[in-house]
């Protein structure tokens, strides 16, 4: 009777030790996997905070092949003036502005693997130039500091560029 009780007691002690070892192993494995997980490199995720603003400042003041600034083409689009625009692939200022901005954004942010959304709006008016964006970069996405460019006269045409975080 005494022997059986002793055997039972040592059994339960062994089980206790096994449980402690298992817990320690699980904790160790958990910590190791956490450490070994690929960390995002700072340099890979580094984005200049004024990238969006610099992009808009550069693009809006750029003169196109028609010797007209991009901001003026957008203004012409909103004032229904089309004599300064038109190319082999576009017929009016709105599509000309869209094509020019799309080319610029694809040659830069697109090439650098950044997600973006470029939109042109004026007050509550319907958009005349479609948004230029990469799939997955919408108004709910986490974003970097946005860039704005205002084209007068009031109410101003607002060009907004958002760069989404990957």
């Amino acid at each position: 009777m005494n022997k059986r009780r002793l055997a039972k007691r040592s059994q339960s002690e062994v089980i206790g030790v096994v449980i402690i070892v298992i817990i320690l192993v699980i904790a160790g494995v958990f910590m190791l996997t956490q450490r070994l997980k690929d960390k995002d490199s700072q340099k890979d995720t580094f984005v200049d905070p004024k990238l969006a603003q610099s992009f808009l400042n550069a693009l809006m003041n750029t003169k196109t092949e028609k010797n007209v600034m991009v901001s003026d083409i957008i203004k012409d689009c909103y004032s229904n003036r089309n004599d300064l625009c038109g190319s082999t692939s576009t017929s009016d200022c709105c599509s000309y502005a869209y094509a020019t901005m799309k080319n610029a954004v694809e040659a830069t942010l697109g090439e650098w693997d950044k997600s973006y959304r470029l939109s042109v709006t004026r007050g509550s008016e319907n958009q005349r130039i479609e948004d230029i964006f990469t799939p997955g970069c919408n108004k709910f996405s986490e974003k970097e500091q946005p860039g704005f460019y205002y084209i007068p006269p009031p109410p101003p045409i607002i060009v907004r560029l958002d760069i989404c975080k990957d």
């Binding site: 200049d48 400042n57 196109t64």
Partner: protein
Amino acid sequence: MNKKSQLQIMENVFVMLIIFIILVIAFVFVMVMQKSEQKDKLEEYKELELIKKAQVLNFLPEMQCSDNNNLDPDCYDILKIKTFKKYLETDQLYYRSMLGYIKIVVTRYDPSPDINKEIESWEIYDNKPEEYNGEMPLQFPVLLKDVTENSNYFGIIKLTLYS
């Protein structure tokens, strides 16, 4: 009775042995973790140094557009770029110590629908170390101003940081 106390002593010894082994394993584990953490921090520090280097363009008024001595950080003057490039071909001593191991290329890009291509490119500075572990490319969109033709172009500054 003697056997029982021997057994109890053995049991105590085993328990202490197991505790000791667990403590040694935990100590080794913590040491390894700390070592790798230090390594990570060192890597992070190196990356931050590289990122700091990327701000170097803010300290190059030699190429930036200026109007009545007001510098525009997002605008680069093509005439100044060409002159600065020529100057660097003859004398790099000062800039080597200031800029370190980097490469600066300025590219003019025309996004017009009928053109849509790179028009011109200037390699301003390239100081490649004899041995380097890798490079970090950084690009910035800028406005390129041609004062002789009174025209503005879309440009890209490409920085390559050697580490």
